[in-house]
Amino acid sequence: MRIKAQVAMVMHLDKCIGCHTCSVTCKSTWTNRPGTEYMWFNNVETRPGPGYPKEWENQDKFKGGWEYKNGKLRLKAGGPMSKLKNIFYNPDMGTLDDYYEPWTYDYANLINSPKSEHLPVARPQSMITGKYMDKPEWGSNWDDDLAGGSEVVPLDPNVQHLQEHIAMEYEKTFMMYLPRICEHCLNPSCVASCPSGALYKRDEDGVVLVDQEECRGWRFCMNGCPYNKVYYNWNTHKAEKCNFCYPRTEAGLPTICSETCVGRIRYIGVVLYDADKVKEAASVEDPQDLYEAQLDCFLDPFDPEVIAEAEKEGINNEWIKGAQESPIYKMAIKWKIALPLHPEYRTLPMVWYVPPLSPIMNHVTNEDELNTDGYIPTVDQMRIPIEYLASLLSAGDTEVIRKVLLKLTAMRVHMRSVNVGGVDPLSESKLLEEAGIDVETVEEMARLLGVAKYNERFVIPTGRREMDDDLYYQQGACSLEDLAPPEGVVTAPFERRN
């Protein structure tokens, strides 16, 4: 056993209002500068839809992630030999068309326009070429709220897979939102794809970063990541990606996207896992077993053996406590309502999702059916096809999704029975039984999902600077290191720990 701690995230998709605040605050903080115009470390996709970049889930095209072939786990895009062969031309990398040509407007014309015959206007302008364009043709959220309809929705690889289940008709419309950041995987294929070794996963919190001094701009990470969450900065010629706001998490603050998530869908907490199990978990044969295999990597923070081992690894009490109080532990591991996005990519992602509920289909009109479960519609009447959710979150295993939706429904029915009444006790207990959940858990769940106080959503121990050897020096010198005495001169009144 080799215990590591990761600061992980759960997004509760049922709560997502699709507002994109996360995208905007992230962008203003991290990617609001030349070279990063098209970079959305955080983006939100309307589903069904092709996502951003377009059809990123199509791994036949992008060859992202890992595959398990002939008893071996290997990068889908090929091993070191094929990398070397294609080092100056990566055939699987996305192009500008898969992303978009970022645009602005000639705003200054509104104020500066000389006297003219007509009302001045700001024309659209490419941010890549600077040339006027008549109209933008694609964007990072071009298909928001099903814009583009049946011209665009079928580009969703999940839809292509399940064509017979989805009717693109007014009456049968459904949609959901999928906010995405880097998955900070346990088994990151971007890291393995980098010929320069510039990507790494931080030991102390699992954050995956691109070293801006080491990156050589080979760009194999861009499509090596099956989530297409590494971007190429055309200005610096280096890759950049979501950094899980480590400058904030180190201070115990949630990521910008989480802090500003006005739907309050995001939860952050520590998860302990056994690094020695990662390869094995990523190498199970059946993709539908990957979810359970990843769960098996996680460790029970209440287990005395785990605690003892963690302490040995230098994970201190506050971090263990963090793991115990972690909302991620509860949602992903204890209650099993959060699921990994596309586990079949075998990267063992660490941003997990609670699947959304949805309204019943309108053809359900039978009076008895409408009243099942005390006003709350039953799982099998819901609009979003379970197969669709399964394609996203459980490698196609619909039973996994159904179980989660049953738990969420049972929670709502039980809470209604407590707060309003009028729920048939027999049908309530049947539902709880089918969902495999007890009243106490349901009430705890309702609290974390509904009341969701800031300090319950985010349980983040601060970065552990006490491990540093010269905090007194840092206290006075941080940010002024260039003015501080050279190494070796003793300024501390106390003995240095070495």
């Binding site: 709560k15 209002i17 507002c19 905007v24 605050t25 203003s28 903080t29 991290w30 091993g79 970022p102 645009w103 407007y105 705003y107 006297k115 206007v121 700001a122 109209k135 964007g139 071009w142 928001d144 099903l146 583009g148 007014y170 009456e171 419309t173 393995a192 070794g197 790494y200 030991d203 102390e204 970063l209 480590y246 400058p247 802090e259 500003t260 739907g263 990662v278 390869k279 230098g314 509920l357 309204p359 019943i360 309108n362 009109t365 409408l370 519609p377 709502r412 809470m415 209604r416 029975s417 309003v420 309702a446 999902l449 509904g450 009341v451 106080k453 552990r464 540093d468 840092q474 190494e487």
Partner: protein, 1245 residues
């Protein structure tokens, strides 16, 4: 490593390396050195340094964090952290430090949406207005003139009186050519134009439009305080935006009062009905989402699969504009099941005490049948009651007699203290209001009810139980109850004869089967939802809630749609209950510290009566839209017809004449000259002056401006537009604005000749064009309004000034604080208008004597004795001799007002001593003496020489903030207690306890900046906030027996004003949406060879901006498709050969638009969404139809369609209040044509 991943070294090593300085080549080489392998050899731990990580850390570090907010009409009022680094505003994130809502309740954090999060873009963006700008033609002319003429006022006069010169700069509007000016020149030009206008035409030709004070109340007050002091005309906005739900004043006598969003979490059944909560109440939506985990059921009603349907358990896809039909059917189900089949005690008790259902209505013969008349008054029966005309009566089951309960309109003004809802007589006996005469009927009569769903006819006749009683003269009266009328009207038979439906499946009005043919919603779903809604309310004592908004409100028949929906919350006892009732959110209308704000804003401390004009009427005439009126076929029916067939312009003129609505400019003659003339002809006292003016008005010697809108003397000469984008955003009938008010390049395609003409309003052959002499915009960004202005003044952004913001949706008052000082030449609105006032006063010394007097008319006002001016709701026109012309009774109030023009600046910047006489609003009076002294202490006194010296100092925006906070109950506990005391006197109820626990609290700007504070309960609002309760409207009424400000004092189902009855709208009913356009008969249609589709054109609020604000920011532009776009059904699109993102044009008689199409299957066929307010500044090419000019805004194909019933006044809750009553600028009843646009022409010179 190649097969695995790199974990960096153990924690300790890493941290060490982060600090140590290293040789970078050595570092790179480290990569070649193998690290420790783990994970079955799959993973390698790298020893490399992570020094570079500082790079991102430094981005996150900043110098300061400032609390501010966004002054935009979004209802958010969110508190934000503004980050400043190296003196630059870098970004913003939401504050998360709201006071808690309670241990087991979701909190307000984080409030804020993506739009607000993109605001900092504006600070340094290329659309920033950095300097004062004046269009070169005008500026050059001004400079030339000033060289010849020393006196700037004369210089202005020389320019505008010369038709050639005037035409030159007017025609240049909207055509570029701005040049940089300076503040002094701009202020001088503005002041000169204003003085010239006051002298030549009268002060009410100077007009200002600035909306929604709640979003930045000090900046609002900057301009309105100036306009109030000079007698200018201040336009309303809430009604003009169609955000006012006229049903609210009709039902409750209240502008709007709604629950804060946290109260949604208390709801146990939540219907979202035409308001896109996730999209437009973004920071609030989570309360609804989270309530679901607490067991709340959510139902969504919308024509499209809107964002909120994602959260619904059932989606009711009612066709656009048919919501009233759905609600009427639900009313039918609830009345039948919960009142008749299975009477629910909670509902019945509530209906008896808190609604007008038990009140008696006269039944009058009408042909072979009967129709319902007006409320029976105590004065009908005897003379025992003071103000008996205004005391409505009910049948007391205990004494078996007609009884006058407390709390009616008459009790409000009779000087006694019985304005309360106690069902108790003077002798202590208890009143038991009878809802129905069914069990004690003396007779059953066939009564006719109007019916408007046109395919089914227009009258329904149904039996009702009645009683016969004798009036004071011995005449027999037939009466019934409102309840019995409601039952018959909605079709619940109770075994009575008449044209009643047999059951829910009978397609007679208003059954579930009936509605299905209109709304398209499955009747079984309607029955289920209605039943569940009521059952839930019965179980929870009213925790059933309905969120409603633009989708249901922005219609011509908004009031009827809303009243039908309100049936549901009133009949289930859900109103005035936490977690229940209506939740209407359109427009950020709630100024919580309202008593202080309106004193500052309208200069009431100097006693200068402001001119508060309703916006819709003003623009209807100022932009000549009355000339292009279209007679609607649908409103025709066999009912009424006296007023419902009248031209809206004629009704509006009648309304002005009878004192119902304000009307400025007042008279064609200058209001200053009127006093001068009266004095010349011998009048000496104010009363004599008024008498002489009224006499001339009566004789027709003085003309009403409203009847002569195209007379140059009545033009709105000087127009201020600040905190607003009137021309790119809210201006319904945009092209008419451009043509008639601005005189720019328009695309009006309508033919005035073929339009419906008014009778009393003089229509000149050619409408006037370019009515404004000077159009001024104050903004920090260049919008369409700026582009069409003569002068654009640079203002501070929301991160560069001090101000206050409040909203309905949460109980806090948020400050704006300057993160940086205004850059370039920007000034805060407060400082800008102060500069204008200063120059104005300097120039006024010579031109406008200190003792200038003028006549000011004002309408009969709500919450004053005026609301009992016109008894019985009978329309009597003095001009026709139907009644004597008496100011304040049968016509407007008249007052002689002194204007001290040279001292406007002094008055702007100090608090006037008129405050000492007291102040207040909504009938609540607060003592002023103490407040005046407290203000001296808090603000300091003015040391500037002049009449304001020694008064409390109001020089800065910060002082204005402190004034507002100190003077208002919501922010000052003493004021709150004083307010409750004032209400105790009228009601005889004990009330001060509501605020006493917080009496010592007195918020300051500093307090609010440190942390948001929950406001204090005050009687100017109706919700209880003590003990950390969530604000829910009318809980004061239900828990302290305070009447609503209506005729009966109860929540109204029935309204009996003559015009309401003439329109067939006495009771809530269903009226289909209008189908205006695309052309009127005979009009020349646009010619083209393309396929086109005629479609219902809707303008719901958008996702990527708040109105036009934020739409330009880089993030908002790129998060969707850029501008402008129109959504429609993909099959409709395919039918005219469109593919997604193709160019289209949208047009009708009102104008033409060019845009790109967004095709989807989420929207049903037959309708298109052009989301509200994308403005026409970005990416808009020329149209090929019409005049082939630059494509218009979303409002280029809409127009003002004023509903005459919204012009009623002088009658109880139907009495004027600013933003409280008046026709709304509804715009959803529009039909337009869409066709492909084949050729993109950018109209470059």
């Amino acid at each position: 490593m190649v097969n695995g991943l790199t974990l960096s070294n153990t924690f300790k090593k890493v941290v060490m390396k982060m600090r140590n300085k290293k040789n970078s080549i050595f570092n790179h080489l480290k990569f070649l050195k193998p690290g420790e392998r783990i994970n079955d050899g799959f993973t390698e731990e790298s020893p490399r340094s992570r020094e570079w990580e500082k790079m991102y850390r430094q981005r996150w570090q900043h110098d300061k964090v400032v609390r501010s907010t966004h002054g935009v009409n979004c209802t958010g009022s969110c508190s934000w952290k503004i980050y400043v680094k190296d003196g630059i505003i870098t970004s913003e994130t939401q504050q998360t430090d709201y006071p808690t809502t309670g241990a087991d309740f979701p909190e307000y954090e984080p409030r804020g949406c993506p739009r607000g999060a993109s605001f900092s873009w504006y600070t340094y963006s290329p659309v920033r207005v950095k300097y004062p700008y004046i269009r070169s033609d005008l500026y050059q002319m001004w400079k030339d003139e000033r060289e010849l003429e020393k006196d700037p006022v004369k210089a202005w006069s020389n320019i505008t009186s010369d038709p050639e010169k005037r035409s030159k700069y007017v025609k240049a509007r909207g055509k570029g050519g701005f040049v940089r000016a300076n503040w002094r020149d701009a202020c001088e030009m503005i002041a000169s134009a204003t003085i010239h206008t006051i002298k030549t035409y009268g002060p009410d030709r100077v007009t200002g439009f600035s909306p929604i004070p709640a979003m930045s109340m000090v900046s609002y007050s900057a301009g309105t305080r100036f306009l109030s002091l000079i007698g200018g005309n201040i336009l309303s906005f809430y009604d003009w935006y169609a955000d006012l739900p006229p049903a609210s004043p009709q039902v409750w006598g209240e502008q709007t009062d709604v629950p804060e969003s946290a109260d949604w979490y208390n709801a146990k059944y939540f219907i979202i009905w035409g308001t896109n909560l996730p999209q437009t109440r973004t920071p609030d939506a989570h309360f609804m989402v989270e309530a679901r985990y607490n067991g709340t059921k959510v139902v969504g009603v919308s024509p499209d699969y809107a964002e909120y349907e994602k959260f619904a358990d059932i989606w009711l896809p009612a066709r656009a504009g048919t919501d009233g039909a759905l609600a009427m059917a639900m009313t039918h189900v609830i009345l039948k099941e919960f009142y008749v089949d299975n009477p629910t005690p909670y509902f019945i008790d509530y209906a008896k005490k808190f609604t007008d259902l038990p009140f008696l209505i006269t039944i009058d013969p009408h042909g072979d049948a009967y129709r319902s008349g007006r409320f029976l008054h105590s004065s009908d029966l005897n003379e025992t009651q003071n103000l008996g005309d205004w005391k409505t009566v009910l049948w007391d089951g205990n004494s078996n007699s007609v009884t006058v309960p407390n709390g009616t309109q008459g009790h409000r003004w009779d000087g006694d203290n019985k304005w309360n809802l106690n069902l108790e007589k003077d002798d202590g006996s208890i009143i038991d209001p009878e809802l129905s005469f069914l069990s004690m009927a003396e007779d059953t009569l066939q009564v006719e009810f109007p019916y408007f769903a046109k395919e089914h006819g227009d009258l329904v006749t149904r039996g009702i139980p009645v009683k016969h009683i004798k009036d004071k003269n011995g005449k027999e009266l037939i009466v019934t109850t409102v309840y019995d009328l409601m039952m018959a009207h909605t079709g619940v038979s109770r075994g009575l004869p008449g044209d009643y439906p047999i059951d829910y499946n009978d397609e007679k009005p208003y059954t579930p089967a009936w509605q299905e043919s209109i709304t398209g919603v499955n009747k079984q779903h309607v029955i289920t939802v209605a039943r569940e809604f009521a059952d839930n309310a019965a179980r929870t004592k009213g925790k059933s809630m309905i969120a409603m908004g633009g989708g249901t409100n922005h219609w011509y028949h908004s009031d009827q749609i809303y009243r039908s929906i309100l049936n549901l919350v009133l009949l289930t006892g859900s109103q005035g209950v936490n977690g229940g009732g209506w939740a209407h959110y359109v427009g950020q209308e709630k100024v919580r510290p309202v008593e202080g704000w309106q004193t500052v804003a309208f200069a009431k401390d100097w006693g200068s009566p402001p001119r508060l004009q309703n916006g819709t009427s003003f623009f209807y005439f100022a932009t000549d839209q009355y000339r292009y009126e279209e007679k609607s076929e649908v409103t025709k029916n066999n009912w009424g017809g006296k007023y419902s067939e009248m031209h809206p312009a004629d009704v509006n003129a009648l309304s002005a004449r009878l004192g119902w609505l304000p009307s400025y400019p007042q008279f064609t003659q200058n209001s200053i000259d009127l006093v001068t003339e009266a004095r010349k002809s011998g009048a000496s006292s104010n009363q004599e002056i008024i008498d002489s003016v009224v006499e001339k008005v009566k004789k027709g010697e003085i003309d009403w401006s409203i009847e002569n809108p195209d007379d140059p003397r009545n033009f709105p000469r000087v127009f201020f537009n600040w905190r607003s984008n009137l021309l790119g955003d809210s201006g319904k009938g945009h092209e008419y604005f451009v043509k008639h008010l601005i005189g720019g390049e328009d695309q009006v395609l309508a033919d005035a000749e073929l339009s419906w003409k008014p009778e009393t309003v003089n229509v000149k052959e050619n409408g006037a064009e370019g009515k404004a002499d000077l159009f001024v915009s104050v903004d920090f960004r260049m919008t369409s309004s700026g582009l069409f202005s003569d002068i654009v003044l640079p203002t501070a952004t929301w991160y560069e000034k001090f101000d206050l913001s409040t909203t309905d949706l949460h109980p806090f008052i948020h400050p704006f604080n300057a993160a940086i000082s205004p850059p370039w030449e920007a000034k805060s609105d407060w400082d800008g208008f102060r500069e204008i006032a200063k120059v104005f006063s300097e120039l006024a010394e010579k031109h406008l004597p200190a003792e200038t007097e003028e006549i000011v008319t004002s309408p009969l006002g709500h919450d004053s004795k005026d609301e009992i001016a016109q008894p019985n709701g009978k329309i009597l026109d003095w001009r026709k001799g139907e009644v004597e012309a008496i100011p304040g009774k049968t016509m407007p109030n008249f007052a002689v007002v002194k204007r001290d023009y040279p001292n406007v600046y002094q008055k702007m910047t100090t608090i006037g001593s008129a405050l000492k006489k007291g102040y207040g609003m909504k009938g609540i009076k607060l003592p002023g003496d103490k407040v005046y002294e407290e203000l001296k202490e808090r603000l300091g006194v003015s040391k500037r020489e002049g009449i304001g010296k020694g008064n409390p100092d109001l020089y800065t925006d910060i002082k204005a903030i402190e004034t507002i906070l100190l003077m208002s109950g919501a922010s000052n506990g003493k004021r709150a207690v004083e307010g409750w005391k004032s209400l105790e006197e009228k009601t005889g109820q004990k009330l001060t306890e509501i605020a006493e626990g917080r009496e010592e609290e007195a918020f300051t700007l500093g307090d609010l900046t440190a942390q948001p504070r929950q406001t204090i309960s005050t009687p100017v609002w109706s919700g209880l906030e003590k003990d950390g309760r969530r604000y829910s409207p009318f809980t004061v009424n239900t828990e302290y027996s305070i009447p609503w400000r209506t005729l009966t004092g109860r929540q109204s189902f029935y309204v009996d004003h003559e015009m309401m009855l003439d329109f067939g709208e006495g009771l809530p009913t269903y009226l289909p949406p209008l189908s205006k356009g695309p052309y009127v008969k005979g009009e020349k249609e646009a010619e083209h060879d393309e396929k086109s589709i005629t479609i219902r054109y809707l303008t719901p609020h958008q996702k990527w901006g708040i109105h036009t604000m934020f739409t330009e920011t880089s993030a908002m532009v790129q998060l969707f498709r850029g501008w402008q776009v129109v959504w429609m059904n993909e099959k409709d699109g395919a039918s005219i050969g469109l593919k997604d993102n193709d160019w289209i044009e949208v047009y009708n008689r009102n104008g033409a638009i060019s845009a790109r199409v967004v095709l989807t299957y989420r929207i049903p066929r037959g309708m298109a969404y052009m989301h509200h307010a994308q403005d026409r500044t970005m990416g808009v090419p020329a149209t090929t139809v019409g005049k082939k000019k630059r494509g218009g805004t979303h409002n280029s194909v809409t127009r003002i369609t004023a509903k005459p019933t919204h012009m009623i006044g002088g009658y109880s809750q139907f009495s004027y209040g600013f933003n409280y009553y008046g026709p709304t600028g509804s715009q959803r009843d529009t039909i337009a044509i869409i066709k492909p646009l084949k050729e993109v022409n950018w109209l470059e010179n």
